[in-house]
């Protein structure tokens, strides 16, 4: 009964929506696509607690301006409508409905934040509107079976932890691992990923797990506990303040463990310096894009392209912010997907091409890191490069690793 009524109502609604909004009955191009323009939408936290990420939206708008000035994509200009949601899910739902129902955008691009994206995923999938390359590190966005209209972007925490697990297996097969993790979705994703990377046979290598709450003043007692367990490998899944404490404390108590740390905390200024540059030597992390502040890339052609873009279309002060780098990566990826669409800009084809990117290399991706998607792989970036802190900056070593 209910299901039948549900079905009837929803089909009636869909029909009404089609009739009211004048969507083309022909299955050709998506709404928002004309001969000269592709209108796309996104929400960004330009105000509110997460407003630092607003720079990503600004970068993308600037990036599309550059693309448009050089002829657009297959002759069409990209018109990005980027709306403020203040990182509040109810506002995200409202703004996304405005984008889809009023502005008639072709698809959603790089909407930011795990809760905002979670709030709109069902709506977009119900209405078959592509939700492309979402800007969140959670592991829930590559699920084409249940959410065929949603695709992730950056490596998620599980991917990174799995790569650490593989590296530990390869370099120290009898390692005893102690894990410090933040007690939330981020930290737990890390534990899951590490165990996946080690494989079921080696899950016993993790001999001790210690968690902390963000409200705790320090994680020093957890570090001491982990050392006491006899672990010789230390994985730090912590946000910057706590990562710095863990690095310093593990050095101070003379714990001679191999230390792995999440790339969330790779900032030299915010983590390594407070922990002590000498004390931070030897810490290993995993990264996928070029650090714009690293002098090593000064003569790199990819970095030069990026620097030229930033100085022409943005302000030079925004160059050092990793959000600017991130914005250009996402912008370039959607441009590639749209190029692949050719003249068939139906929502079906846009989704199909977003899920059909092969070995895309971008100026600001590390050498060897490539973007790949396929109908059953909705995690575009799965490669990372290990890097070791040398007391000044991160030195890449080994090969690019895949989870």
């Amino acid at each position: 009964m209910t299901t039948r009524r549900t079905f009837l109502t929803s089909s009636a609604m869909t029909a009404a929506a089609f009739a009211a909004s004048g969507w083309p009955a022909r299955a050709e191009n998506a709404p928002g696509v004309t001969d000269t323009e592709i209108k796309i939408g996104q929400t960004m936290p330009y105000s509110g607690p997460a407003s630092a990420y607003g720079l990503i939206g600004k970068t993308e708008a600037a990036y599309f301006r550059m693309i448009n000035e050089t002829g657009g994509v297959n002759g069409r200009k990209i018109n990005l409508i980027s709306l403020d949601d203040g990182y509040s899910p109810p506002k995200t739902v409202e703004q996304v409905r405005r984008l889809v129902e009023q502005e008639q955008v072709a698809f959603l691009f790089n909407t930011l934040g795990t809760p905002p994206n979670a709030a709109i995923r069902q709506y977009l999938n119900d209405n078959k509107v592509p939700q492309l390359f979402v800007a969140t590190g959670a592991a829930m966005w590559g699920d084409p079976q249940h959410f065929p209209w949603t695709i992730g972007f950056q490596p998620n925490y599980q991917t990174e932890a799995a790569i650490f697990g593989k590296h530990i297996l390869a370099t120290k097969p009898d390692a005893k691992i102690g894990v410090l993790y933040q007690n939330d979705a981020f930290g737990k994703d890390y534990l899951i990923g590490l165990k996946a990377g080690l494989g079921a046979d080696h899950a016993g290598m993790v001999i001790k797990e210690a968690s902390y709450e963000t409200s705790e003043p320090t994680v020093e007692s957890q570090v001491v506990t982990l050392q006491g367990s006899g672990a010789d490998t230390f994985l730090i899944a912590a946000t910057p303040k706590f990562a710095a404490q863990a690095i310093r404390k593990s050095y101070d108590i003379g714990w001679n463990a191999v230390r792995y740390m999440t790339d969330v905390s790779l900032s030299v200024a915010a983590v390594m310096k407070p922990a002590g540059l000498e004390k931070s030597k030897g810490v290993i992390t995993a990264i996928y894009y070029k650090d714009a502040t690293d002098p090593r890339w000064a003569d790199d052609s990819g970095f030069k392209q990026f620097a030229a873009f930033v100085s022409k279309y943005m302000s030079p002060s925004e160059m050092a912010d990793s959000n600017t780098t991130y914005g250009t990566l996402a912008g370039a990826t959607i441009v590639q997907a749209l190029k692949q669409c050719g003249n068939d800009l139906s929502r079906e084809n846009i989704m199909k091409q977003a899920g059909n990117i092969r070995d895309l290399e971008l100026p600001m991706l590390l050498p060897g890191v490539k973007i790949n998607t396929s109908p059953d792989n909705f995690y575009p970036i799965r490669q990372l490069h290990l890097a070791r802190f040398n007391g000044e900056s991160w030195g890449l070593f080994g090969d690019v690793m895949t989870d």
Partner: protein, 340 residues
């Protein structure tokens, strides 16, 4: 209970009464006609307005009428929202049962919070409630409650379909549910403040010692007022959960509590009709601020906050007693002009 109209202060001019009635009539007509004409997106927006109006009504009862400042009504809104979401998704209750239960929980929570509030006056109470608003999102993402709250990932819930095969879509139905709740709750508060209870609340606000000397049980009134106020926030939170279809700790952050305070001040303290303007303000002005910031060039996308602030300052300069106060003043001027 003698006729309540008799006890009403007789200061209101007849034209004021007529204007008020006319105003409510127009509001009711527009509100009822909306589902016929507005698109789904606009109905969603106006559902949000109604939800905010309900929460503002509760806060205005507490702050405007009773003089207890709360910066923490986002926390009660969150209890209502999560309460309803958990009852619906984890216990399989229908929304029409879940929201009243969640609101009752809010009443109890608010009533209990009213006791420590008795000892805290003015700014100290503001600080204590501020702590509630700061704590709420963290408590909601606490791992011990993950099984119920879904942690920092939040909870998804399906939107309710119209019952009895009514020829409405989901947006229309949700809007009408919000409208029905709002109408009932407005009516209840209007009756409450017009009578003996309302006079007692205002007396406690204006002169607590005199009120007690007149035999008003200040402690009982203040705690009950806190409870009712929290109940309103809870109803609003529950309605928000079903219209948005999603709750997460980020839905109920500190900005929400502050928006409520902005709403009642913009609408007009101790004004019932004013909360509608307050709700319209907190729903639409941030959007306009975002749109206006486009005119300052691409590099100024950081401006919506600044424009919002500027609009707020302008409004407070033009209408220091809120929109309701400005309308009252305008009617008075008009009235005087007619008589002279």
């Amino acid at each position: 209970m003698t006729a309540t109209t008799e006890s009403r202060p007789r200061t209101a001019a007849p034209s004021m009464v007529a204007a008020t009635r006319l105003g409510w009539g127009i509001v009711a007509l527009v509100a009822l006609a909306l589902p016929v004409y507005a698109s789904g997106y606009h109905l969603y927006q106006f559902s949000q307005v109604l939800i905010y109006a309900i929460a503002l009504l509760g806060l205005n009862l507490l702050t405007g009428f009773n003089g207890q400042i709360s910066l923490g009504h986002g926390a009660f809104f969150a209890i209502g929202g999560y309460g309803a979401a958990i009852l619906i998704t984890k216990f399989g209750l229908p929304y029409w049962a879940a929201i009243p239960i969640a609101s009752a929980v809010c009443f109890v929570a608010g009533f209990l919070f009213g006791f420590p509030a008795l000892r805290l006056g003015g700014l100290y109470l503001a600080l204590a409630t501020f702590a509630l608003a700061v704590a709420a999102p963290q408590i909601l993402s606490y791992k011990g409650f993950d099984a119920y709250t879904g942690g920092s990932q939040g909870l998804q819930l399906a939107k309710p379909h119209p019952p009895f095969g009514l020829p409405l879509n989901i947006d229309q139905w949700l809007y009408l549910v919000c409208l029905g709740c709002a109408a009932a709750l407005f009516w209840a508060v209007a009756n409450l403040v017009r009578g003996r209870v309302g006079r007692a609340l205002v007396a406690i606000r204006d002169h607590p010692i005199a009120a007690e000397a007149m035999g008003v049980d200040a402690a009982l009134y203040k705690t009950t007022c806190f409870g009712i106020s929290a109940l309103y926030a809870g109803v609003a939170g529950g309605l928000s959960a079903i219209t948005v279809g999603f709750v997460s700790p980020d839905s109920f952050g500190l900005p929400l509590s502050l928006a409520f305070l902005v709403g009642i001040v913009v609408g007009g303290l101790a004004s019932i009709g004013g909360v509608i303007f307050g709700a319209l303000f907190i729903e639409f002005v941030p959007n306009y601020a975002d749109q206006l910031s486009v005119y300052f060039g691409e590099s100024a996308k950081a401006l919506p906050g600044a424009i919002y602030g500027l609009l707020l300052i302008l409004l407070m300069a033009v209408a220091p007693s809120g929109v309701a106060g400005a309308i009252r003043a305008a009617v008075r001027v008009f009235d005087r002009a007619l008589r002279s």
